[in-house]
């Protein structure tokens, strides 16, 4: 089995394998590293950072739904400064590719965060979260507005030489248009998808189960939507795609690669099986060897329609 080449490229970013852990589902790596071998992964994406610390939303923040969960964490994070001081030293030791995810309330804040962090050697790429329901500009969610996504990409591009991945919202009718503008404005890749907007109510109290009222739907329930979105981008735009949404095992990961993902991220699955990422790496390797595939990257976009 050892002859199989699992490496993939996301633009200029070379990953030893396509398996990343998704933002907001691994914290800053310290807890999960007690339960899995992070160095075996393609990389990890840290929890969305904002310029200043955010305490996040009041409880209840999560609720289980059929084959999924809703969350409205509210981007609770330590802020850029504490991140550099307290989290980077640990992350440096992990021996894996570190992608730093940024969320902000204004274009200036995105740029500022990236400018500060770009000098950190440990960080190998930025993932720009334009698709969190709590981040607004002029009342419009960034991620659902083409020109906002274009401008963010353009200005973040100007602020760093490191690869930029824009994490797209699935709550739009044509996600390929967003991938197109990311490409045009110099983004290196897109991640698809972030969570779908959802809600859940208690019929006895008539209150929302999540204090924030709406939350983001993740988990296996959304996988078919995510697969359709990745495929849509792949068929329309020539840009590397990082696929995610409901990946629980290597079969799901392979499905994303077949429809066009150059790499994949494991999100909600980490909560249930913190070792899922490692198992996916092994599963993909095994699958390649069964299918006589010597370079895993051959699988990318190899769908037969």
């Amino acid at each position: 089995m050892s002859k199989i080449d699992l490496s993939v490229n996301i633009g200029s970013l070379k990953l030893k394998n396509p398996v990343l852990l998704a933002s907001g589902t691994v914290g800053y790596g310290n807890e999960i590293s007690q339960l899995t071998d992070i160095s075996k992964l393609g990389g990890i994406v840290t929890k969305s950072l904002s310029l200043k610390p955010r305490k996040g939303n009041p409880p209840q923040r999560i609720v289980e739904t059929p084959s999924g969960m809703l969350n409205a964490i509210g981007l609770a994070n330590v802020g850029v400064e504490v991140f550099i001081k307290e989290k980077i030293p640990f992350l440096k030791e992990l021996n894996t590719t570190l992608i730093c995810n940024i969320a902000a309330s204004s274009i200036e804040e995105y740029v500022e965060c990236v400018k500060i962090l770009t000098s950190e050697e440990t960080i190998q790429a930025f993932e720009i979260n334009v698709s969190c329901p709590n981040v607004r500009e002029g009342g419009l969610i960034f991620g659902n507005d083409l020109s906002s996504v274009g401008r963010i990409t353009e200005q973040v591009r100007a602020a760093t030489n490191k690869p930029i991945i824009i994490k797209l919202s699935p709550n739009v009718p044509k996600i390929a248009d967003f991938a197109e503008i990311v490409k045009k404005e110099g983004g290196d890749a897109v991640s698809a998808i972030n969570t779908l907007v959802g809600a859940s109510f208690d019929i006895y109290t008539r209150k929302p189960k999540i204090k924030n009222v709406t939350g983001g739907l993740s988990g296996p329930a959304i996988k078919p939507v995510a697969i359709a979105k990745v495929l849509e981008i792949k068929r329309n735009v020539d840009i590397p795609i990082i696929g995610l949404g409901g990946i629980m095992n290597w079969k799901d990961a392979a499905e994303f690669m077949i429809v066009g993902a150059s790499a994949i991220q494991v999100g909600t699955a980490n909560f249930i099986n913190p070792n899922a990422g490692n198992e996916i790496v092994d599963g993909l390797e095994e699958f390649c060897s069964q299918q006589k595939i010597i370079k895993l990257s051959e699988m990318i976009g190899s769908y037969q329609i």
Partner: protein
């Protein structure tokens, strides 16, 4: 904290919907401390999606005990397990009770399934005098096994005192003029709130174990915040708790 595939060694039904299970889980048993919990995968499939958190009820050699009631789909599946079945257990999680110190009486205050963590704690309190106040809606829900010096309270008076455990407790402390004691509590939120208020008013030394919805159980999802009273924002129930000083958190 680790994941251990654990074999179901024994299952006992303690009430109409209440079960105690014993699992062979030597590595978790070795690490476990009273007040910690485990996050249990109740099925092999992706349904239900999330693990379910349960307090470690007791540890006996290489085995751990859990006590639970059938609440929804997850606990129903758990109650249907057969001896020999394998469960995937993540634990031990969180910080347990802090029972060190030179108080002389340990007072346990439990409501309903809140009795779960106390057999284990009791087994560690051999140097203290222990009294236990156990309450529930009615007698069939009062869980007292492996607890010491139990006084019961029920809402309907069907067992022991008719009223709440918090009333029982305050009564006891006053009547006995207790001064050196620590309270350990676990139970439904309204009970904990009542207790918390009294402990703050009277400056009682009190630790409470709280519950909330959890996804991961070990600090990576930020899904389980509890507001702190010091104005510094939120702590995580799973990682910073589930046991907190009563005065530390807003319920």
């Amino acid at each position: 904290m680790l994941i251990e595939k654990s074999i179901l060694e024994a299952k006992r039904q303690l009430g109409e919907r209440i079960f105690q299970i014993k699992l062979f889980s030597p590595r978790i048993a070795k690490l476990a401390k009273p007040g910690q919990f485990c996050n249990i995968k109740v099925s092999e499939s992706d349904f239900p999606l999330l693990r379910r958190p349960f307090s470690i009820s007791n540890v006996e050699g290489d085995s751990i005990y859990f006590l639970f009631d059938i609440h929804g789909e997850g606990t129903k599946i758990l109650s249907e397990k057969s001896l020999g079945d394998e469960l995937d257990i993540l634990g031990p999680l969180g910080n347990g009770f802090n029972y060190d110190g030179d108080y002389s009486t340990a007072i346990i205050v439990a409501g309903g399934l809140g009795s779960a963590p106390f057999p284990f704690l009791t087994s560690k309190l051999d140097k203290k005098k222990v009294v236990s106040f156990v309450g529930a809606r009615n007698s069939s829900l009062v869980l007292t096994e492996d607890l010491l010096n139990v006084q019961a309270a029920t809402d309907d008076g069907s067992l022991g005192f008719k009223g709440t455990v918090v009333e029982l407790l305050t009564d006891y402390v006053e009547k006995n003029n207790l001064t050196s004691f620590r309270i350990f509590s676990c139970g439904p939120n309204p009970m904990l709130k009542a207790l918390q208020q009294i402990c703050i008013e009277r400056n009682y030394d009190c630790q409470i174990s709280i519950e909330c919805a959890m996804a991961c159980g070990f600090g990576i999802c930020q899904g389980c915040p509890v507001e702190t009273t010091n104005g510094e924002g939120y702590k995580l129930v799973c990682k910073d708790g589930p046991v907190f000083e009563a005065k530390e958190v807003k319920l």
